[in-house]
């Protein structure tokens, strides 16, 4: 992992001037991912916030080759690009070593794009799939996805008299589903821990076969907090157990960051964002406990899988 000083001399491959919201985690993630390597990269995106805000014709923020085709097919689209590359390599028509990175939102990855992703993982394409997980369909106005956490207020899971919890269901554990495909490398990361994130990207890009990193992407609009707090929020997620950092190499889980003394209660995570505000109403006490317990149980389960103590 190069020093910060060295990183600062590397060329940015996503330019300024894109139209993501101030404080959006997505552009921070893309920059960290692309700074982590010096390989030439061909990137692709799903339809979603990142895509619409970085490519408004006649402008583009992408200084590298980039393709978007639809919402649910970034994995399949990039698998076509990567296959063309392998083909031309085989024929001796290309000499450079190029790497392929897909950036999909949680909606484009956990939900509508899971089939295409599964296909790519099973077929073993040489590409890194990054899910920037902001836990809802943000581009269309903060609707719930299967990545939205229990208790989240989204525009399609608003808390009300009949359903005071907001989103009722647990998050889908996508990273585990990816691991079940037998991929050589999968990880979960956060832009609040850039060292950890970039190491994982480097590792993934130097691993043969399809690789996957699920990255928490704070969204001030959808999560209801002040834009300048995004990186604080990103760190808090890990310190409270809401977004543990880990990697899975050939099926073996390893926790890459343990909060230790810095650990904070799950409640701090819920308190930090407006989307959970309703849980703090007096009459919702039990619901708050339920959501806290869901976070704690999930983290415990993960640590146990890695053979670690919390």
């Amino acid at each position: 992992m190069p020093s910060l000083k060295e990183l600062s001399t590397r060329e940015e491959r996503l330019s300024r001037g894109h139209r993501l919201c101030p404080g959006c985690g997505a552009s921070v993630i893309v920059r960290q991912v692309l700074l982590a390597t010096e390989y030439p990269i061909v990137a692709a995106s799903c339809t979603g916030c990142l895509e619409v805000a970085t490519s408004i014709y006649p402008f583009t923020a992408w200084k590298i080759p980039w393709i978007h085709s639809a919402f649910e097919n970034v994995a399949a689209t990039l698998s076509g690009v990567e296959t063309a590359y392998r083909h031309f390599k085989k024929l001796g028509k290309i000499s450079k070593n190029v790497k392929f990175v897909a950036f999909g939102g949680d909606g484009g990855t956990y939900d509508i794009g899971i089939q295409a992703l599964s296909g790519v993982l099973e077929r073993g394409h040489e590409l890194l799939y990054i899910c920037y997980d902001n836990q809802a369909y943000m581009n269309t106005g903060i609707q719930r996805s299967s990545a939205s956490p229990m208790g989240a207020h989204t525009t399609t899971s608003p808390p009300g008299q009949a359903i005071p919890l907001g989103k009722v269901e647990q998050r889908k554990d996508l990273t585990r589903i990816v691991v079940a495909h037998g991929v050589p490398y999968a990880a979960q990361a956060s832009p609040g821990f850039y060292n950890d994130l970039m190491k994982k990207v480097e590792k993934a890009l130097n691993t043969e076969g399809p690789t996957f990193i699920n990255i928490l992407s704070p969204c001030p609009r959808g999560w209801r907090y002040k834009p300048e707090l995004s990186m604080e929020i990103a760190k808090l997620a890990t310190l409270t157990g809401a977004w543990p950092l880990y990697e899975v190499e050939n099926g073996k889980y390893r926790i890459t960051y343990k909060p230790g003394k810095k650990r904070k209660p799950a409640q701090d995570w819920l308190k930090s964002q407006g989307r959970f505000r309703h849980l703090f109403r007096e009459e919702n006490k039990e619901l708050l406990k339920k959501v806290e317990k869901a976070i704690e149980d999930k983290e415990k389960e993960l640590f146990a899988r890695a053979g670690e103590e919390i």
Partner: protein, 393 residues
């Protein structure tokens, strides 16, 4: 120079694809396309092509992978039918708008529901506004000839559009015929090389594919797509002529059969054109001035040529192997009728919907159509504008 051998439609499509030797083929099985991709898989397994094949998990991904591969400068192909084409729907529009000359055999099959595996044209007719060039084939020979011509047509710098080569499920795909096949070298030379000047793999000249294109530019881009379609007929004709010089089989936008002096004309696309030819032969023996106008390219629609070809006809029946629910008649009928609208002297035009879900359409039924046409020509009136041929009412 050519060798005649026996092939089914699916097999000859695979044979043409072997000669084309695409860089990338991404496909998913669906009856009656399956044999094409199975046969091609054997070519891959035996090393007879250098193609890299992606055995995708759906047709949606097949077309998506073709889009990615073509944007990376590859010659990309797939093949499908009916529900497979329907599942690709979203991405076929994208392939055309990104100007990627992907070539795809469409083995025509009725769309669900109810589910049915046999031939009609509801699948490709439904895709008529997607921006793809559509070539319809009458028999196995035309499947081969159309596939070989599809690449130089779609890849022409003035066109750059994807091409569907349509052929009738089972009737052609599973029927065996003698097909004249070019030598590999000759076919490959005819097809030539493809160079995408905006390749995603050109690392030093990065390109952005698929940006958000709003009200300030989208319309102009659609206008450019229209223009590419407008330029396509000349290219289709040019390539058809070059192909003819090589093989003796000349192609244009349309084909006519005993049309010169025909009063009564049937318009058809696909294998039924062959049945119409046989009917014309019989009727000519009886002294009926019957003729056929066969649609080869439905997209781009050959309006000028159709007007010219029908200038002497008295009554015309347009045969559509698909229904357009709620419309005035079948899709080919609607366009033929509208093409003639401005003409001072024009024939009576009648719509026939036939053969849905693989319902057989034979000479006797087509004779009935000519009989109706004769009555209309004589009375100067159309008694029934839209007819359903061979259905139990």
């Amino acid at each position: 120079m050519e060798k005649v051998m026996a092939f089914t439609g699916d097999e000859i499509a695979a044979e043409a694809m072997r000669q084309i030797n695409p860089d990338v083929l991404a496909a998913y099985p669906i009856t009656p396309q399956t044999e094409t991709v199975q046969k091609f898989s054997e070519f891959v397994a035996e090393g007879r092509v250098s193609t890299d094949m992606i055995r995708v998990e759906s047709e949606h991904s097949a077309m998506s992978a073709c889009v990615g591969a073509a944007a990376a400068g590859a010659r990309a192909m797939t093949a499908t039918s009916a529900n497979g084409l329907a599942l690709m729907w979203e991405i076929i529009y994208i392939a055309a708008s990104y100007r990627l000359p992907i070539v795809m055999p469409v083995v025509n099959r009725a769309l669900s529901g109810p589910i049915n595996i046999h031939c009609d044209h509801s699948d490709s007719m439904g895709a008529r506004d997607s921006g793809w060039i559509q070539l319809y084939s009458e028999n196995c020979q035309e499947v081969y000839d159309n596939l070989i011509q599809a690449l130089p047509i779609g890849e022409d710098r003035n066109v750059l559009l994807p091409v569907m080569v349509c052929f009738d499920g089972f009737i052609i795909s599973h029927g065996t015929e003698g097909v004249a096949v070019l030598e590999d070298k000759v076919a490959r030379n005819f097809i030539g090389e493809f160079k995408n000047i905006h390749s995603l793999l050109d690392i030093d000249n990065p390109v952005t594919y698929g940006p958000l294109d709003l009200f300030d530019y989208y319309f102009e881009h659609k206008r450019q797509q229209v223009e590419a379609m407008e330029k396509a007929p000349e290219v289709v004709k040019k390539v058809g002529k070059q192909f003819g010089e090589l093989t003796g089989r000349f192609y244009g936008l349309l084909e006519d059969y005993h049309l010169q002096d025909a009063d009564l004309v049937v318009i058809a696309a696909g294998s039924t054109a062959g049945t119409v030819k046989a009917t014309v032969d019989e009727l000519r023996e009886e002294g009926v001035r019957a003729g056929l106008l066969k649609i080869r390219t439905f997209r781009p629609f050959p309006q000028k040529e159709i007007i010219q070809k029908l200038s002497k006809a008295k009554a015309v029946a347009v045969m559509d192997r698909s229904a357009s629910f709620g419309a005035i008649g079948g899709p080919i009928f609607l366009e033929v009728r509208s093409a003639l609208f401005e003409e001072q002297k024009k024939p009576l035009v009648i719509s026939y919907i036939y053969g849905l879900g693989g319902r057989d359409t034979g000479i006797n039924q087509i004779k009935q159509v000519y009989h109706d046409l004769a009555k209309a020509a004589q009375s100067g009136k159309v008694s029934q504008l839209v007819n359903y041929l061979g259905v139990r009412e």
